[in-house]
């Protein structure tokens, strides 16, 4: 039969007895407590502590990774900003070069067009001159034909047999020479 630690109603007159604490029971309880503590330490505290350690480590590693990721993100953003800036500069310089080239090309095209127009004008003037000369020659030929035809008609009408005989006489004398 287990003696209760505290005998309520039963009192001792000295020391711990006065407080109602049974030394034997106290020692047994203490041994029990120590045993329980040892058992708990062996089978409960260690796993629990280990588990809590593991969780703590996990949390810590997560925090570390998070911090690292934040740093990486910051670096990446900085790099992106730098690359963007470089790309913008490159784009600006390409655009500027393209604009200059375009201006040059336009200038060249204008110059060539002007030269071509001048050449066309010169050709046209030359052609006009030639056309005029040709037309003049044609007109001369037509006028001469007209004169010749008119002469023929007039002579045909005016020259009778007698005049013709005189012409023949004159021509033969000239032919003899």
């Amino acid at each position: 039969m287990i003696q209760p630690l505290f005998n309520f109603g039963e009192t001792s007159s000295s020391g711990l007895g006065a407080l109602g604490v049974d030394p034997k029971a106290f020692i047994v309880q203490l041994i029990t407590f120590v045993l329980a503590f040892l058992v708990l330490r062996r089978f409960a505290f260690k796993p629990i502590t280990k588990m809590m350690d593991d969780r703590r480590k996990l949390i810590e590693s997560g925090v570390t990774i998070g911090e690292q990721m934040q740093k990486d993100q910051a670096k990446l953003e900085a790099k992106i900003a730098e690359e963007l800036s470089k790309a913008r500069e490159q784009a600006d310089s390409i655009l500027s070069a393209a604009q200059d080239e375009a201006k040059e090309a336009i200038k060249d095209a204008e110059t060539k067009a002007r030269e071509k127009a001048d050449a066309i004008l010169v050709d046209a003037k030359e052609k006009t001159k030639q056309d005029i000369a040709r037309a003049r020659k044609q007109l001369e030929a037509e006028v001469i034909n007209l004169i010749s035809d008119a002469t023929e008609v007039i002579i045909g009408e005016k020259v009778d047999a007698k005049k013709d005989a005189q012409l023949i006489d004159k021509a033969l004398k000239g032919g003899a020479n």
């Binding site: 020659k137 001369e140 030929a141 001469i144 034909n145 010749s148 002469t151 023929e152 002579i155 045909g156 020259v159 009778d160 047999a161 005049k163 013709d164 005989a165 012409l167 023949i168 006489d169 021509a171 033969l172 004398k173 000239g174 032919g175 003899a176």
Partner: protein, 130 residues
């Protein structure tokens, strides 16, 4: 092989001397038709004229717009005698051609003397348009 034109012309000349001209002409025409050489008639006639000219008989075609008078004919004969001293016979064929307008064109076997107004007008056109 075809006979050369000059040989044919000689034979015709001989025929004309010996035979009747009409008969000779018929023979020549028959020959040319048989030999399919009708296109050579003009050339043949020129060859014949040349042969006769060499023999002293000059034949001239005188083209004019009006009938040639005797004076003109005499002058033509004088001119022919000047150009062909060995001539003993001059035959002038008078041809009226209004196209010449005035003056005369003398056409011989291989020569021609053009004294027509037509020729002068053509020359004028040529010189002024060249």
């Amino acid at each position: 092989m075809k006979a050369p034109r000059s040989a044919i012309a000689k034979v015709i000349n001989q025929k004309l001397d010996k035979a009747d001209a009409k008969k000779a002409a018929e023979d020549i025409a028959g020959y040319l038709l048989a030999e399919k050489r009708v296109g050579e008639l003009d050339s043949l006639m020129r060859d014949l004229q040349q042969i006769r000219s060499d023999q002293g008989a000059v034949e001239v075609n005188a083209l004019s717009a009006h009938e040639l008078d005797q004076n003109s004919i005499n002058e033509i004969k004088t001119l022919i005698k000047t150009k062909f001293p060995g001539t003993n016979q001059i035959i002038i064929n008078k041809i009226i051609d209004n196209d010449v307008v005035g003056g005369v064109r003398l056409v011989m076997a291989n020569q021609q003397l053009d004294l027509t107004i037509r020729y002068k007008l053509s020359k004028f056109k040529q010189l002024t348009t060249s």
